[in-house]
């Protein structure tokens, strides 16, 4: 049944999500093409009018591009929060909660689709932004691809093991952050349903409450783990000879913490949906 739920959720959400992702992708391609145009610098630097036009074009493009990025990152998250709320806690919940499926399947079907789209969106944003920025710096500062490759080689000189650990931890933290964002919203929406009135407002309040609570816990755990990682050493400066491994340890703790928080938010959501569901 999970597969069927995911399939229907995908069918219901792919159009709007494709549109948002396509907008960022197209704007990125426009930026890359524009900044790679041979005569762009000549055109904008040739005269006062050209410079004014250049400022106008750069600022307009930047504004639209940033807005499209915001629409994709914040908009897609909000879109999946709203879908979760409407499908499971409003009138549509009368259908979804009377399907022969478990609450776990309902939650995961929503989460899987949201996570896939967030991953696609994040990849498009990362590739798009870095390509546009590279093209821009190449145009204005004369960056060359060889310099980028040299910088990457320098990183690899630190050792393949080191790089592998960083890449794996980076992916884990990135993935964990995406999953956490989704489940934090789901948990807040579910907590909001416990209120007798103004459930949407209660959900928003719960979101900020969760955010603050989680930030405090994260800070405490991070501080504590830094002390543990430092171990018997007197201070962080003792790690200056191997700062990379110190940060790798720090990243590992962050990754573990994110996944623990994901689990906590998921459990809150599931428990409320299973034991405290009250569609009124």
């Amino acid at each position: 049944m999970l597969g069927k739920l995911v399939s229907h959720e995908w069918k219901d959400s792919w159009k709007i999500m494709s549109l948002l992702n396509a907008a960022v992708l197209i704007l990125s391609i426009i930026g890359i093409v524009f900044f790679n145009a041979d005569n762009a610098v000549e055109l904008f630097d040739s005269s006062d009018i050209g410079q004014t036009m250049g400022v106008f074009v750069y600022s307009s493009y930047s504004m639209i591009y940033v807005l499209s990025i915001l629409a994709l990152s914040i908009g897609s998250t909000l879109y999946f929060y709203v879908r979760f709320y409407k499908n499971l806690y409003t009138d549509q919940g009368y259908l979804m909660h009377t399907l022969p499926v478990t609450e776990t399947e309902l939650i995961w079907s929503k989460a899987i689709v949201a996570i896939i789209w967030r991953i696609i969106g994040t990849l498009i944003m990362c590739i798009g932004i870095s390509s546009v920025l590279y093209s821009f710096f190449q145009l204005r500062l004369g960056w060359e691809w060889d310099e980028v490759m040299d910088a990457i080689e320098e990183v690899f000189e630190m050792g393949p093991m080191f790089v592998a650990v960083y890449i794996i931890l980076g992916i884990l933290i990135g993935l964990g952050s995406i999953i956490f964002t989704i489940f934090k919203g789901y948990a807040a929406i579910s907590i909001g349903q416990l209120a007798s009135k103004n459930k949407v407002l209660a959900s928003v309040g719960a979101y900020f409450g969760l955010h603050i609570g989680i930030s405090i816990v994260s800070n405490i755990v991070t501080q504590f783990s830094m002390i543990v990682i430092l171990g018997g050493r007197k201070n962080i400066f003792n790690y200056l000879d191997e700062p990379g491994w110190f940060f790798a340890g720090f990243m590992a703790v962050s990754a573990a913490l994110i996944f623990i928080l994901c689990a906590v938010c998921y459990i809150i959501t599931r428990q409320i949906m299973k034991n405290r569901l009250n569609l009124e």
């Binding site: 049944m1 069927k4 229907h8 219901d12 009138d91 549509q92 919940g93 009368y94 259908l95 909660h97 009377t98 399907l99 022969p100 499926v101 478990t102 007798s196 034991n275 405290r276 569901l277 009250n278 569609l279 009124e280």
Partner: protein, 233 residues
């Protein structure tokens, strides 16, 4: 006849702590059409929601086909809520596919036949349909299942007399004969003829459980007339 619904001391209090439903003890056998009757606020919808697992009882329990509301009960209960629960953006075809995917007892051919007989466009989005047409589509979906229990919450409220006739005909012509049908309403005259039994609810209490014939014999009046006497203001 086997028991399809069993409520034991079923109680629901909302936040005000004033009970909406108090100590309901009730069994429903299969193969019966039962009217759950009571004025607005008598607890009909609350009981129905608890049967469907949409509300959690404050006290007591409800068993459907011997089990608490869960996957099994959802697979044997066909439920029509008193509101539109379908996504407005979806087409009639999307919704039929959806039901076909999740309910093994759903009969898409039966649903399509009824949709056709109403002249509703299969590819029309629900948001383009009138309120009455949407309610009929929802009823058709619910009645196109071969369920063990049909729970219909106010199926004829807010529709014109012609539509009421259509709805009642649809229910009678399509329900699984081995199943039970629980119909909640306060419009008794329209459905009295199809009911085997009635349950009267008053302020969350069960005040009467009798067959239609028993009421006629004992009180010498129709169910509607007796209802008016019991609930006279």
């Amino acid at each position: 006849m086997s028991t399809i619904v069993e409520c034991r001391n079923l109680t629901k209090c909302y936040n005000s702590r004033i009970p909406a439903v108090t100590g309901i003890n009730l069994t429903i056998e299969s193969g019966r059409i039962i009217g759950l009757l009571g004025p607005n606020g008598s607890g009909k919808t609350t009981i129905i929601k608890m049967m469907n697992g949409l509300l959690q009882p404050t006290k007591g329990e409800v068993l459907i086909d011997g089990e608490e509301p869960g996957i099994h009960t959802r697979s044997v209960v066909s439920y029509l809520p008193e509101r539109t629960y379908l996504e407005a953006q979806k087409t009639v075809a999307d919704i039929i596919d959806f039901f076909d995917d999740f309910y093994v007892d759903f009969r898409p051919d039966r649903a399509l036949q009824m949709i056709d007989s109403l002249g509703i466009d299969y590819n029309a989005r629900l948001k383009t349909l009138s309120k009455g047409a949407k309610e009929k589509v929802q009823l058709i979906l619910v009645m196109s299942r071969d369920a063990k229990l049909y729970i219909l919450d106010e199926p004829i409220a807010g529709v014109d007399p012609a539509a009421r006739d259509y709805i009642i005909r649809t229910i009678i012509n399509n329900y699984n004969r081995d199943a039970s049908v629980l119909i909640s309403t306060h419009l008794i005259t329209d459905i009295e003829d199809v009911l085997d039994e009635v349950i009267f609810l008053k302020q969350g209490h069960l005040v009467l459980r009798a067959t239609v014939d028993e009421i006629k014999e004992k009180y010498g009046v129709s169910v509607d007339k007796h209802f008016r006497e019991v609930f006279a203001c």
